[in-house]
């Protein structure tokens, strides 16, 4: 702070601080508090607002436990409230997307950071970035076309003689969430790539060579030297991709099958279709809380500190 004042003077420093305070207070904390507050009050017609029914209640939160459905998870039939089912699916498949992006991004990040010649890096990064210039909506629709029954993917596979009949990708081959997982992976892989790339770039190449010189096969060098060094990058990539995937509304809406429900869609339905902002707010709060807990548990499991991610 003193350093800031010395560099920019009291006036500018005050402006910086006020802007940051405005951002955090007015654009982050206040709306969330308002949501939290609203989530504890019932959805009422305007006439009854402030009336005897407008009292503190947990009924919005209880709604998530209503409407049990019969479903099965990996062949095991269970009875579960429909929104909890959506919720668990969303967290599970977001974790799957995170895992998929990690599997794709790590080798690519390593290649860019340590294998590719430095002269080709700007070109390669540009090639990776160009798709990001297209809006997410357009990219999701592009994938809708690619995956559609009479689309190019089936045509290609049929043309190559790999399949005889078209596959209904959007209904899902393995699960009904296939299309969502594929498209989310595509959309968010760069959010995984760049933190890992940055982390690996800072690794001294001599350490990789030292490990190899001591007899280490490539996989052990990665396991013992590269991955531990890249762990903060991997962690921040994972947190970003998980949160973005779990919070995605557009991709599941565009490419999701009729059987695939994503929790943000449920929240959206409460807000937009039911116009019940109070229940929507309650659902949002549950979702936010559980996702944060999930991330913290994952960080504990992999022994990553919050300060590592901030780097």
């Amino acid at each position: 702070m003193e350093d800031l004042i010395r560099r920019y003077g009291t006036g500018l420093t005050a402006v910086f601080c006020l802007l940051v305070a405005f951002w955090i207070l007015v654009l982050v904390i206040l709306p969330n508090f308002s949501m939290l507050f609203e989530s504890f009050f019932p959805y009422l017609p305007v006439a009854e607002l402030g009336g005897p029914k407008d009292v503190f209640t947990l009924q919005n939160y209880e709604k998530i436990l209503a409407n049990p459905i019969e479903t099965n998870w990996f062949g095991i039939p269970i009875s579960i409230p429909v929104h909890i089912s959506t919720f668990v699916d969303t967290v599970f498949f977001s974790a799957l997307v995170t895992f998929m992006t990690l599997i794709l991004a790590y080798p690519l990040a390593y290649f860019l950071a340590k294998v590719a010649s430095p002269r080709s890096i700007p070109t390669l990064l540009l090639l990776l970035f160009i798709p990001m210039w297209v809006s997410e909506a357009l990219r999701a629709f592009a994938w809708y076309i690619i995956l559609t029954f009479n689309g190019p993917l089936n045509a290609l596979l049929k043309g190559l003689g790999i399949i005889d009949q078209g596959i209904r990708w959007q209904n899902g081959v393995f699960t009904s969430y296939d299309a969502i997982v594929i498209v989310l992976t595509y959309c968010y892989v760069l959010f995984m790539l760049f933190p890992i790339y940055t982390a690996i770039t800072s690794l001294d190449t001599n350490q990789i060579e030292a490990a190899e010189d001591l007899g280490s096969p490539w996989w052990r060098t990665h396991w013992r030297v590269v991955i531990p060094h890249a762990k903060p990058g991997i962690a921040s990539g994972c947190v970003m991709v998980f949160m973005l995937s779990a919070g995605s509304l557009l991709v599941p809406t565009v490419v999701g099958s009729t059987k695939a429900n994503w929790f943000p869609q449920t929240i959206y339905t409460w807000f937009n279709d039911a116009l019940d902002w109070n229940t929507g707010a309650a659902y949002s709060m549950i979702f936010l809380l559980v996702c944060i807990i999930f991330v913290i548990l994952a960080m504990r499991l992999f022994k990553v500190k919050l300060s590592d991610i901030a780097k």
């Binding site: 060579e209 030292a210 010189d213 001591l214 007899g215 280490s216």
Partner: protein, 360 residues
């Protein structure tokens, strides 16, 4: 166990640049061999070729008589100590040292024991559970040596490992390295640009310039009988005279130049080339009267006290700079600045040498 290394007509090109040109060396098992040269002379490239990180463009590298072509660094019986040591900062010291054993599937208790034994060997007991960042430069150095020794290599490759240490520690580590080499009997290949280091530690030294090995000999021979001007200048100071070289008789020849006529030795391989006369300052005497031969008058311009000896710099006719070293033995008279003296040297101590062996 240790193995010999043979480099046979080894060349290494980076694009159109030839980093190493036709290197031929035969390093004996258990030898302490140094490659000495200025930066960019190709010595590190040789080291990286022996360790397997670079494949030679031509020629063969044999370790223990076995051609290493196509053998990856993790399959070679070598251990490399990097210039920046490249210790693993996220592992404690003992895991650093036993990493090579972990790779070989040695169980944890044995690894731990071996790491502690090696720490004792490098005089660093009790550091097993520390992290790399907690050690000083010299301690890190020892850990790097222990880590390399842990895999029981037949050949140790050292890439200027002492360059980051301060002078005192460097001198101490020199002796230490030499002692470890004697104790383990492992072949050491040592890379350095510090001629003092190379001469003091090695059994033999290979002096390199511009990708070519200029001379391979024992330190004493490198210093006393350099094969060319580059080697003579790289390992020490010289007074250099130019002129016409007369016919060779009994390994001696005359050189007639602007500063008179001199006589000096000519090595057989130097005959027939353009030669200059090189004589070391410590072989240059300062006399009051002109000697019968090899004597040049100069005016003393600077007297520098170095401790064990005194460096006297002077100017001969035509601004030619000469220097001599006078022993600080209390007997030899040291001339004063401005005094006129004769720089005189023994013909047997002076050499007529060609320039460096470079590509034409």
């Amino acid at each position: 166990m240790s193995a010999g290394i043979d480099l046979e007509n080894v060349c290494c090109d980076f694009g159109t640049f030839r980093a190493v040109d036709n290197a031929n060396v035969s390093i004996k098992p258990g030898e302490f061999f140094s490659f000495l040269g200025p930066s960019g002379c190709g010595k590190t490239t040789i080291l990286r070729m022996v360790s397997g990180f670079i494949e030679p463009t031509q020629g063969a590298i044999k370790i223990g008589g076995k051609d290493m072509k196509g053998t990856r660094p993790n399959q070679r019986p070598t251990a490399l100590i990097f210039q920046n040591l490249a210790l693993f900062p996220l592992m404690p010291i003992w895991e650093n040292i036993s990493f090579g054993l972990e790779v070989r599937g040695v169980d944890k208790a044995t690894r731990r024991k071996k790491a502690e034994d090696l720490l004792k060997l490098v005089d660093l007991p009790g550091a097993a559970d520390k992290m790399v960042s907690q050690l000083s430069g010299g301690q890190k150095q020892r850990v790097a040596i222990a880590r390399a020794l842990a895999v029981e290599p037949q050949v140790m490759l050292l890439d200027e490992p002492l360059s980051a240490l301060d002078l005192k520690l460097r001198q101490h580590m020199r002796a230490e390295l030499r002692a470890i080499q004697k104790r383990t009997g492992v072949t050491f290949i040592y890379i350095t640009h510090d001629q003092g280091e190379a001469l003091a530690m090695s059994d033999r030294v290979g002096v390199m310039s511009q990708g070519r090995i200029q001379q391979i000999a024992a330190p004493r021979d490198i210093y006393d009988n350099p094969v060319n001007g580059f080697v003579a200048s790289f390992v020490g100071e010289n007074n250099i005279f130019e002129g016409e070289v007369g016919p060779v008789a009994d390994g001696m020849a005359a050189l007639n130049g602007a500063h008179g006529s001199f006589r000096a030795r000519v090595l057989p391989e130097a005959q027939g080339k353009a030669l200059k006369l090189y004589v070391r300052p410590e072989h240059t005497l300062l006399t009051k009267v002109k000697a019968a031969e090899n004597s040049v008058e100069m005016e003393v311009t600077e007297v520098a006290f170095e401790g064990a000896f005194i460096s006297v710099h002077g100017q001969a006719a035509g601004g030619k700079r000469l220097s001599a070293e006078v022993k600080n033995d209390g007997v030899t008279v040291v001339p004063a600045v401005g005094e006129k003296v004769f720089a005189t040297f023994d013909a047997a101590r002076a050499l007529l040498l060609p320039d460096a062996n470079v590509r034409g």
